[in-house]
Symmetry: C2
Subunit: 323 residues, 2 copies
């Protein structure tokens, strides 16, 4: 009997946990406690699961991709640790952020060294294409920093177009998904054509995932979402909704106040209501659907397989978690 | 007529400046101003000069090593930008540190992205051994973080042995010199034996350089040193001198106060005098000489050449700048 999608993804999540634990055991680091705290306290392991499933759909063995998968998760963790400092965030996955539990210096350095470990993990991969692996990984590292720079820049700008917003999430979110998918394919030794298909798959699923994340902040269920609804509005964050709303109604007093972080608690439900009235809820749903379908279509170059079915159902779950 | 050592090193410094400027021009980044500020405002370019000279002594062309050389300088800059935040430093090379001129978030992110650019620069190198280049570069990145972790850890500890101090500077300072030397050799396609010799050269010169740096803080000439004498003492920094002095006289009231940063201005000359009375000035001079000689001896596997002569005279200048 074939494994269910839950069994399949939980198997790969397990491989990720074990591989990261193995890396931490092999590499002796002074900040061992901090590394375990950042790397082994939950996390959905989406990116490593994408890497390993993409390796499988391309005919490879997921175990051959496990170090690259762990490297992607560690690259992701590095960005979270540093972004949390920049955003002055207090909690992450229900725990104090690393810089709150320790201090900013320790968090900067832990982030840096987790990235060094990520490169070392990646280099453990047995593949003739290791230089390409490093190139793709480094491109993701570069893009994710550039995306964060844009996100930071948006905070102080009065106007941000939806085109700029899309560019930002392509860098900040899609880059990691795209390179996660490509690494898996490369390890399975795919052709350039298939590699490009995996890049497109990752890019589109990343955009869908980010818009969905913005969506859940307004229209999700607090219980399953795990965060307070309207948190992005409270922070004046340039999400899909705020950017599009300001584009459509640049003179709205409420929207201006949100963008300038001059809001009171009652404005959060007002803002959400306004987004819905402006048709942005529907627009977001449509975009998530569109990017998800484009992502799935990109996989057409791969033959049908149970891994492909798992991957498609996995990402549908990912963007469909509206509860 | 052969070039003088000054002409030779200034030529390589020039190549470094141009290569970094070229990289910044090619890669479009949002924080262009910050990157130029961090990367193109002086700096002695010691590490890239070592990379290119080591490439030459191994029979290669220095121009083939220019991207790797620039990558080493950028890795070094990344560590300076992040370390300055951790140390709450106000100035660097006579200018405000990046996090003081902008803000901590911008400095964290700029450091991160400069490192991403460093990897991208390294990957531009035309060599069949690119995977080894990345491995050696990543080892240096990992070690320098680990060294900084130890240095940070020392701040809060009551006792630090001189063995621990040596281990720390091997990681924090020698790692970059060692990998700078190795990258140059690898690009010139040296044997494993010669690669090991270059690693030993870099390691020993790094230790000599760091002890000399500690030495200048106490016994240098303010005019040529470029920093205020006794700055390390004022900060209670675990230098060679403080570590050795506390090892020899753990009960000294003055030393304890220095270590706990409970000092007044008058204690700085007292501290320096004490170090000298304890014989540590001589001990440091002896160690710098010893490690420098070991470094030079490691180069015996390379034939005599004008590049080798330049390299030896360059490092002698480096550790001999007592003025």
């Amino acid at each position: 009997m074939p494994m269910s999608i839950e069994q399949n993804t939980s198997r790969l999540r397990d491989v990720t946990e074990k591989t990261i634990a193995e890396i931490l055991k092999t590499e002796k680091v002074l900040f061992d406690e901090q590394f375990r705290y950042a790397l082994l306290n939950g996390g959905k392991r989406l990116r490593p699961i994408v890497t390993m499933l993409c390796c499988e759909i391309a005919g490879g063995k997921s175990s051959d991709a496990r170090y690259a998968a762990a490297a992607m998760e560690m690259l992701h963790t590095f960005t979270l640790v540093h972004d949390d400092i920049m955003d002055n965030a207090n909690t992450r996955r229900g725990l104090a952020t690393l810089h709150k539990k320790w201090d900013v210096g320790t968090a900067i350095l832990s982030g840096d060294e987790i990235l060094a470990l990520a490169y070392r993990a990646l280099l453990k991969t047995k593949s003739k294409k290791n230089v390409r692996l490093v190139e793709i990984f480094t491109k993701a590292f570069f893009d994710v920093c550039e995306g964060q720079a844009y996100d930071k820049d948006f905070e102080t700008r009065t106007t941000v177009t939806s085109k700029e917003y899309l560019k930002m999430i392509e860098l900040k979110t899609s880059a990691l998904f795209s390179s996660s998918a490509q690494l898996g394919g490369l390890i399975a030794n795919v052709s350039e054509k298939k590699l490009n298909a995996l890049a497109a798959f990752g890019k589109n699923i990343g955009i869908a995932f980010q818009i969905q994340d913005d969506y859940l902040d307004c229209f999700g269920d607090e219980k399953t979402f795990g965060k307070k609804i309207g948190g992005d509005i409270a922070e004046g964050k340039r999400t899909f909704f705020l950017v599009r709303a300001l584009e459509k109604s640049p003179r709205s007093v409420l929207l201006k106040k949100v963008a300038q972080r001059k809001i009171s608690a009652s404005m959060i439900p007002e803002g959400i209501k306004l987004f819905e009235e402006m048709g942005l809820k529907k627009e977001a749903e449509h975009l998530v659907e569109k990017y998800t379908q484009t992502a799935i279509t990109a996989l057409n170059v791969f033959p049908q397989s149970s891994s492909k079915e798992t991957l498609i159902r996995f990402i549908l779950q990912l963007v469909g978690r509206k509860s």
